[in-house]
């Protein structure tokens, strides 16, 4: 199992990479000892979006399906968590609510994905249909202000959004502040390591093969549709995890977390970071979220303008992503420095021509 951690589908390998990984992890673990609780809470907030970015990286970078539906599943799961946390009475049942809401997002992804993938929708049409579905959900939730829109005691509240649900709780311990931070950290390490093993496993290799050349993969005897659906469900489920954690973190969720411009954010993070690698996505998304939050304090519009500009710049200057490009550059320089001038670049991974 462990040898799947390094493989052809992920950048970074060997003791040096994992030593860096451990240093970052230890730094993250001791961070709350030095920072005040407000900053720790903020950091936990950045971390909760990472799952959505990793999910999109899996779908878009590895499986070649550009889904605009990350916030659709984020919203489905976030609202489901809100409804369940209220209806089931909160307390320790919130953990059940978290699990169920992620399952709900994955179920929705399976249904939508089945119709799209078995219906032969691919490429740009995949993007258009997922975006349309996302906007329709945002529109639908926006008009649920009336008192007839409720599930049990949980009111949907239209544009103002749901509120008043319990945060995640185990026994008498509320998962908030630094507890939430550690909870997120553990989840991220688990998800990151699991995804690395997944994309380097035989299933992951087939998923990459379906991106590279669907016809050839089919000729080799793989049912391309099943692998695409699997990637779509996992990726969307991760967006759902972000959604449920978000609702628990702030104890509210509104339709504006689903519609535009929220739907564009995961695309910006992943495109900027480098969609075809999990580590680049992890690092890049975190940096962008940090930067975005810092600017948002002064002006949310300015922060969004910057996001748009970054997306435009990425596509025009570095279509494979900035963080990935910089990472490769450092790796090449490092080898050249170590190898005394004879640069032996690593064997180039297959790049998708036109995903």
């Amino acid at each position: 199992m462990l040898r799947l951690l390094d493989g052809p589908q992920t950048l970074g390998k060997g003791p040096k990479f994992w030593a860096c990984f451990l240093v970052v992890l230890v730094a993250a673990l001791i961070y709350p000892l030095f920072a005040d609780s407000y900053d720790v809470g903020n950091f936990a907030y950045f971390l909760l979006w990472i799952f959505m970015a990793l999910g999109l990286s899996l779908m878009w970078g590895y499986a070649g399906m550009l889904s605009f539906g990350q916030t659709l599943f984020f919203g489905i799961s976030g609202y489901t968590y809100g409804v369940l946390a209220i209806v089931m009475g909160g307390g320790s049942t919130t953990i059940v609510a978290l699990v169920l809401s992620v399952c709900m997002a994955m179920l929705a992804a399976a249904i939508l994905g089945y119709f799209m993938i078995w219906g032969g929708i691919s490429g740009i049409f995949f993007g258009i249909v997922t975006l349309s579905a996302t906007l329709v959900l945002a529109f639908f939730l926006g008009q649920t202000a009336g008192s007839e829109w409720h599930i049990g005691a949980a009111r949907l509240n239209g544009f103002n959004g749901m509120q008043g649900m319990d945060p995640l709780t185990v026994g008498s311990l509320d998962i908030e502040g630094s507890v939430l931070y550690y909870f997120m950290l553990v989840l991220i390490v688990v998800v990151y390591v699991a995804l690395r093993m997944f994309v380097n496993s035989s299933i992951g290799n087939v998923i990459v093969a379906t991106r590279e050349n669907p016809q050839r993969a089919e000729m080799l005897g793989y049912d391309v549709r099943k692998y695409q659906l699997l990637a779509f469900v996992i990726g969307s489920g991760l967006a759902g995890l972000s959604g449920a954690l978000y609702t628990s973190w702030g104890q509210f969720i509104t339709p504006s977390s689903i519609g535009l411009p929220a739907a564009a954010m995961p695309i910006v993070w992943v495109a900027f970071s480098g969609r075809s690698d999990l580590t680049a996505t992890l690092v890049g998304s975190f940096l962008l979220l940090f930067g975005f939050q810092t600017i948002t304090i002064y002006s949310q519009q300015a922060a969004l303008v910057l996001m748009g500009a970054l997306l435009l710049a990425t596509v025009m200057v570095a279509p494979q992503g900035f963080v990935l490009g910089v990472g490769r550059l450092i790796a090449v320089r490092w080898k050249r420095w170590r190898g005394g001038g004879v640069a032996k670049t690593e064997p180039a991974r297959l790049q998708p021509d036109e995903v």
Binding site: I124, S132, L260, I267
Partner: protein, 289 residues
């Protein structure tokens, strides 16, 4: 069913039809013909609407303001094509990301500069009665404009020299260039026409809706859906697609309300892509041969 009911039915149909045609026609050229997935389409619409309202508030007559707004949007389109879109004719998915970035920049900058809303202009007065119902004249003007746009597009692309060159360029740019067509200029003008039509849509709907910088999002789903259903041949596809979608939308709106109407349209699109991946126009083209 009385004549008045029948007219009311037609009126509602014409309303949805005009909305779909006007919001989709610009995108039909840019996406359907040129292959650029223009996520900033809604922002060209927004631009048309804002220029119209701005000019009317300065005292320019409405009709003139609308024409000027369409021209302004078209010129901006040419500039955008020159600096950004030009690089993406061979990379359609990247064109989507680039124009989405542009759309974010434009909407949020507008929010920063203009604020969340500006003083609107009322819908032009004027109504007429058929039987027991009264109807707004302006809605029928919109319908007439939609038909005029379709006819105009047909003439431009089928009957003029530019149209022949444009269709040749979209079909095979390298060959057209070898034969002496200035493909760069043709792409720029075509994109400008697309942007101008989007601006016209915004200009025509400006009096009927609240102006906010994010108003483009109201149009974008309908326009993409119409173009996707219409298929690759814009001239043949867009009108039947709009008729088809208007029918579905109207039937569902009438019996179940707006939101079911939207969901129904979404399902219709998924079905159409399933059955006719090339859109409605592929059937019509096959028949024609």
């Amino acid at each position: 069913m009385s004549a008045a009911d029948l007219f009311s039915f037609f009126y509602q149909f014409a309303d949805v039809f005009a909305f779909l045609i006007l919001s989709a026609s610009g995108l039909a050229i840019v996406f359907g013909m040129m292959g650029i997935i223009n996520m900033a389409h809604g922002e060209f619409i927004m631009c048309g609407a804002y220029v119209t309202v701005g000019l009317v508030n300065l005292g320019v007559p409405l009709a003139l303001a609308q024409i000027l707004a369409a021209i302004a949007a078209g010129l901006i389109g040419v500039v955008v094509e020159y600096f950004i879109v030009r690089r993406f004719y061979k990379r359609p998915l990247d064109s989507l990301l680039a124009t989405w970035g542009l759309s974010l920049i434009v909407t949020q900058s507008m929010l920063l500069i203009v604020g969340s809303s500006i003083r609107g202009i009322g819908t032009p007065e004027g109504s007429f009665a058929v039987g027991d119902y009264t109807f707004s004249t302006y809605r029928l003007v919109l319908f007439a404009c939609a038909v005029a746009v379709l006819v105009g597009l047909y003439i431009i692309f089928m009957k003029t020299r530019f149209g022949v060159l444009a269709r040749a360029t979209m079909q095979n740019a390298a060959m057209a260039k070898a034969l002496g067509a200035r493909t760069g200029r043709i792409y720029a003008i075509s994109f400008g026409i697309g942007a101008g039509l989007a601006g016209l849509c915004g200009a025509l709907y400006a009096p009927t809706m609240t102006l906010i910088p994010t108003m483009g999002a109201t149009f974008i789903v309908e326009s993409f859906v119409t173009v996707v259903v219409g298929g690759a041949n814009v001239l043949l596809g867009t009108a039947p697609a709009a008729i088809f979608l208007a029918m579905i939308r109207m039937a569902l709106n009438a019996s179940y309300g707006q939101i079911i109407g939207q969901i129904g349209m979404l399902f219709a699109v998924i079905m159409i892509i399933r059955i006719l991946p090339e859109g409605l126009s592929s059937v019509l083209v096959r028949r024609g041969r």
